[in-house]
Amino acid sequence: MAGKVTFDENRCKGCELCTTVCPVKIVIMDKDKINIKGYHPATVKEMDKCIACGSCARMCPDVVITVEKL
């Protein structure tokens, strides 16, 4: 049940909503990066923990996230 989460990074507005709904708490803000809009974008660091539930994508107001089931 592993998943793959892709972020369309430059669409991200750094709102952090996605980080609050991940059941395994792997979605975090990438404080090291600033995207074209000037925000720290969201990202997933430990992708192997992803259960492909799609919650982050469903919560994101800016359709930044695509979720695939491997």
Binding site: K13, K37, G38, Y39
Partner: protein
């Protein structure tokens, strides 16, 4: 001398209040002043700018289409306003957030690492005061003392603690200008 300044950056970078502080100081010094903001349906974090005029004479148009100076705090602002500076005018670039260089050579360009200095001082929010300090050093549009007088009035009582920080920011900005 009439100072016609454009100040521009992201919302949240304090460009509006930078302009307001300057015109308040101008007024204190008996000058004619005006401050005209851009307005519109901008999302939080969108761009913002204001046109500031400080003059010995009555202010004509409050719009600034021929700027004696432009202070740009982010990249889109540089792209938009570089062309509006008059030949011989001043362009102040926040080099912390703008990696591009100015393209014109008929104007005076100053690179001020405002965010770096501000962060260095422990408060990213006063990058605008750093830029203002640099601008004042270049143009003398208002005296640093008048600015500080105004700031002291606004931040009195409990908030007075921020006054020295602002003073320091102005100074550090001015120091960037050799």
């Amino acid at each position: 001398m009439t100072h016609q300044i454009i100040m521009a950056g992201f919302g949240g970078q304090g460009v509006m209040s930078m302009g307001k502080i300057l015109v308040e100081a101008g007024l204190k010094e008996g000058k004619n002043v005006s401050w005209l903001p851009s307005y519109g349906p901008e999302m939080r974090g969108g761009t913002a700018n204001c046109s500031v005029i400080i003059s010995e004479e009555p202010v004509g148009a409050p719009t600034v289409t021929e700027a004696t100076a432009a202070i740009v705090m982010n990249r889109p602002s540089l792209d938009k306003f570089e062309k509006d500076v008059i030949p011989g005018g001043d362009l102040l670039i926040n080099s912390s957030l703008i990696d591009k260089k100015a393209t014109r050579d008929d104007i005076n360009v100053y690179y001020v690492p405002a965010n770096e200095i501000a962060n260095d001082m422990g408060s990213g929010k006063i990058a605008n005061m750093v830029m203002l300090g640099a601008y004042l050093k270049i143009t003398g549009a208002a005296k640093e003392d008048t600015i500080m007088e105004y700031i002291a009035e606004v931040f009195s009582g409990k908030k007075a603690s921020v006054v020295p920080l602002n003073k320091e920011a102005l100074k550090r900005g001015a120091d960037c200008i050799k």
